[in-house]
Amino acid sequence: MRQGRAIRQRPASGARSFARRLALAAAVVFTLADAAPAIAAQPPHRVVSMNVCTDQLAMLLAGEGQLYSVSYLASDPSASVLAGEAGRYVVNHGLAEEVFLMSPDLVIAGTYTTRTTVALLRRLGFRVEEFAPVNSFADIREHITRMGEILGRQEKAAELIAQMDAELAGLSAQPPSRKTVALYYANNYTSGAGTLVDETVKAAGLVNIADKLDLQGTNQLPLELLVLNNPDLIVTSEGEYAAPALAEQGYVHPAFKALTAGRKAVNVPAKYTICGAPFTLEAARIMRDAAQEGKAQ
């Protein structure tokens, strides 16, 4: 998952050399005007988000008119759950020039992407808040709380967390089926211990094959090992891309087809697991339902 995100956001960092030139020009022009807005007791009212995950958290929490712009990925239905709502905001591509002209009083970014843009915006005196990728439900709670504080929307944040916790409790109230599940993404990648997807699998009452194989983090699960371990359920994450790539050939390999023939394989769209948010629980529900259907057969 993390890999997919890195690829998607590569275009954003492509403007590096341009950003550097802009930095030089800007350093000259703006040394006089100290653009740093006071870290206000007032909540920000013109917020720009440059990362698909912070985009969605901000969309969930921001008050009316508070969020000004979100990244172009926020409206990509394969990457963003809230793609439908993203159309209400101005689009940015994580470029310093673009964001500068929007003159925001707060910029929100991820810690993995648009690094040069963040550095430049800080030099120009903008207030930038960064969010690390999410690896657990605890991280999601922490991010929601922090985003709520930053936006001055603590009540809404508490509401969202309570709602998520209730849903999590609902999931764990059901007896765990203990069925084995293998996550099998493009290029044979899987999610093991220490990832949000692994926690999602556990929340669904299932056992992740990657834990048995001692695979940590996002790691490769060779097709041979997938076949050998013969899981009850295989979770794929096929994207709907406009063009094919070898990365997804694993899904048409005869061995994979034989393995999934007459057995449950379920596709969990990547948008639920790319970013950690309350909607990530939707992935747990898809997996749990698929495992239950498999039992009924």
């Binding site: 044979n188 076949v227 994207g239 063009a243 094919p244 790539a245 061995a255 393995l259």
Partner: protein, 334 residues
Amino acid sequence: MSDTARYRLLLILLAAGAMILFVLSLTVGPAAIGFGDSIAALFDRKEAGPLALIMQEIRLPRAILGLMIGATLGLSGAVLQGYLRNPLAEPALLGISATASLGAVLAIYTGFSLVFPLGLPLAALAGAVVAVIVVQAMAGMRGGALTIILAGVALSSLAAAMTSLALNLSPNPFAALEIMFWMLGSLTDRSMTHVWLAAPFMVVGWAMLANVGRSLDTLTLGRDAAASMGVDLRRVQLLAVLGTAASVGAATAVAGAIGFVGLVVPHLLRPFVGARPSRLLPASALGGASVLLAADILVRVIAPGKDLKLGVLTAIVGAPFFLWLVYRTRRNLL
């Protein structure tokens, strides 16, 4: 021991080596399966258990493709060196693999090969034909070794750049990562589908290449002498070009461009067969198969789970060898 007997012994040894490596290739993989179990599962016809699935659908196609692609590279390297009378000739250095890669990339990433599966090997073949024709045209009638190699270098760079361009422009976010596969080659998780797609082209290519063996012997005397002795130079050219294009094109279409095997193997074996290209061809094919199978076993042993590309290993061995070869032949080149 007579010359012929020695030659036969060499072929037997090479064939035995290739067979041993083929079996070894079948028994190496991330799933730790015992030797006996894996061989039993390979011939298990009744139940499709996980072991049988791994052996028959994952490891067998990989080993078969290793064998066939290695043979293709060794054989075409030997033919190109004999036909162009150039010690530095081989599919990768002449740009044939790179252009075949480009053809395959265009077929796959536009979605053409999904609609028409045979389009994949055919597009790679077309790419390979273009490369051979361009290199030959550049070399001209009196083309020296240097011209051919330089034309190959230019063609390789161009094809590699176009491949990168095509993959970077693809709307699929994974495509750009696959530049590595097309430039360095890999046999990871290939399937029987790939075998059936590539094998017919490779076999036809081999038949064409095997046919030029005798003529290559005569060609060692020089073009004019060979022509006066009744060698049909146009036929030799057609067979060498199409044979190389068909076999290397098909190999590249399913495994990417794998360098240096076609260069190193004929040179290593030439001292053992005397100066007769016709004898070098079968030896080179078997030697190429052994080298590629060994490389494919090593990528799995050295870096399990890292999906190391084949071209990395073949270049580590091949590139220093190439340098040494350039050093030795530089007087002829300059």
